[in-house]
């Protein structure tokens, strides 16, 4: 009997404590972010709209037409058109189509991509009036240089620096590419070739140094700090990228 009473009193006490705790919560700052007014700061691993990145330093397209994403896609929403370049004997990208109406944003394609070209961006506002408008072609999929830089920094993936550094395949392809006229990315490439080259190089040096530092620190301090360093490093770039994004939205 006394056991019963003590249990009842104990249970009531616990319920009361729970009620008080929940009641106290009503005075906390709400964690709601009212979306259209405040765009949520999504983590880098967020799986939003798919996009194709370019090399943030040189601006060249990262896709090597290996078709691994097309093969792994469970929804078969990726369609790649490519041909074998007569000069280099390498596959060359002609068109890249993703049907975002079919896509379920599983992120498998981004995992298999050997060059980290296809990525999930943080963009989730992609409603359209027709289903056809959800099929994105290469032009709509390819990110600008700034955006690529932003996402490479945000997702903390290694930069595709080795690519231009690699002696055999890549420079050759880069050299061969201006010749091939069937590129919708063409607009990006002359830019990469001419004036931002010096800038890119400067940024490159800075970045390598910063990255080495950050890598050391990451081991010592942990992820938080690394993120901070990354942020400070790519602050200017990401600001530009965001501006670009805003402009794009305005265009829409």
């Amino acid at each position: 009997m006394s056991n019963l009473v003590s249990r009842a009193v104990g249970g009531l006490y616990q319920v009361l404590r729970g009620l008080i705790t929940v009641g106290r919560h009503s005075f906390r700052q709400p964690i709601t972010k009212e979306f259209p007014d405040i765009t949520p700061d999504l983590p880098g691993a967020f799986r939003g709209r798919l996009a194709l990145g370019v090399n943030p330093l040189t601006g060249e397209h990262l896709c090597i037409s290996c078709r691994q994403c097309e093969r792994v896609c469970p929804d078969k929403c990726i369609q790649i058109t490519s041909h074998k370049s007569p000069e280099t004997n390498k596959p060359e990208l002609i068109d890249f189509k993703i049907d975002h109406g079919l896509c379920m944003f599983c992120g498998l394609c981004t995992e298999v991509c050997p060059t980290n070209c296809i990525i999930n961006t943080n963009d989730f506002e992609m409603s359209e009036y027709t289903r056809e408008a959800l099929v994105y072609d290469l032009r709509k999929l390819t990110l600008s240089q700034e955006e690529s830089a932003y996402y490479f920094a945000k997702k903390e993936v290694p930069l595709p620096k080795p690519k231009p550094a690699k002696p055999e395949a890549k420079p050759a392809a880069a050299a061969a590419k201006p010749a091939a006229e069937a590129k919708p990315v063409a607009e990006a490439k002359p830019a990469a070739a001419t004036e931002p080259a010096g800038q890119a190089k400067a940024a490159d040096e800075e970045k390598t140094a910063a990255e080495a530092k950050s890598a050391d620190e990451a081991k010592a301090v942990g992820q938080e700090k690394e993120k901070l360093v990354d942020k400070s490093e790519s602050a200017a770039v990401s600001a530009e990228a965001l501006e670009g994004k805003d402009k794009k939205q305005e265009d829409k």
Binding site: R17, G18, S26, F27, P30, E34
Partner: protein
Amino acid sequence: MATTSLAAVPSGTVPSTGSYNWVEVFKFARLTVIWLVAIFGAVWITCWAAGELLPHLIEMKCGGQGPSRYVIEGLQACTPLLAILVFIPVNAMFMVLCERRALALFTVRKGPNRVGADGLLQTAADAVKLLFKEDITPRGADVVMFTLAPIIFFAPSVFAAVPLLAAVTSNHELFSITNLPTGIFYVLAMSSIPVVGIVMGGWASNNKYSLVGGLRSAAQAIAYEIPLVLSIITICFLSGTLDVVAIAKGQSDGFWHWNLLGGGVLLSVHSAPAIAAAIGLALCCLLLFGIYLTGACAEINRIPFDLPEAESELVSGYNTEYSGIKFAIFFLAEFTNLFIVSTIAAVMFLGGGASPIPGLLDATFFGGAAGQITAGAAVILVGILCLSCKPVPNTGLLSSGWFGWLCFGLQLVIVAVIALLLGGGASLVSNGLTGWPFNQLSAGHAQLKWLFQSLVNPVTFAGMFWALLKVYTLVIFAILVRGTLPRFRIDQLMDFGWKRLIPLSLILLLAVTFLRELV
């Protein structure tokens, strides 16, 4: 459980500038005040129009004899029903919004704050949406019973509220017609009917989830109705009557006379054993209140007793197949039931429309100078609450910046003017309308005088005010419980009902009967 979840949230993720967030609490209070004033005003004006104004006009035009007499009496007899019919839908609309906002507060969210100013009209929009949705009857359903179920669920809760009206309006002459000699028993009998609607709807839906929901509801209602009724009957023993008005009247003169504290025994005894008995009685009544709240929670299928409509297990149980207006009726009835069980608790345990401290905002209070000052101050406070808010971004009502501050200032000025006007009016009313402007009125203005005097009735006003305050305190407590406790398991539920609550309430019945004689 809750404490661990608190600890699990890293402090960095909560963007807390200060330690306390008064803005949301303030907005919730503002919303509640606006809605309650609207509901209160609507019901008050309707009752006044049907019960006072129209009969008065008819009497002026046709005289008080003959067929017009029947019309007048019919109108006055219909007033309580009209009051309920106006009150229940509007009130349920507000309660849905109140529940969503309060729950958002308890779970550190913001809740609906987009439709209208600061989400004021959210449920109105929802109601319109539900009315226009297609009304689907599933194939294989028993059409007659499928249609009848929401009606059987909703209608009794309308009728159940009738005798309570007399109790919360301090037995106003228009509402004393609703005062039955077996009042509380009638209310209990009526509020036991809705479970039939649930079982009926569950069976007629031709859906196994609905059926299981209906069966669970029936089992639960039968199990928990016994302690609920026993606790109410014990209080009836204590008061010595089944008449709700008499029960409420017995608890006036301060909160120490509430049945919650033993019905005024605590202060009226002098010998030592009688004091012990009185304390025992008060403890018993507190326990009875707990039993009543538990039973009522189970009776109206609220968390933690929401097994009949467990979303995660039964896809919301008995109303799975309902859509459109029928679903709206189910929804309406659920919140009405919550309101009614809270009203029963307020009348039986918390003194109904009586003021908790004698002299505070009751009928005697409105005569004095303190009454005038308080009325003016209250009007100013309510006005500020209603119209203003510190201009923070994204309130929906105000924007930040100089324009926001300008609006804020303008609002303050408007509120001050309105408050001064209303405060002056209130002080006139509290003088019994015999003061300055009224003693200037000649006989030709008798109509105007009658208009004011019939519109404002301080006794009923005080009763309604306290009743609403008590009822909504209980409603918000129910929402807090919903935000805190997890759902029972079905065998634990049955165990708790049959093996714990029923014996406990029987013991308390005996204890109260004997202790009452000892005091």
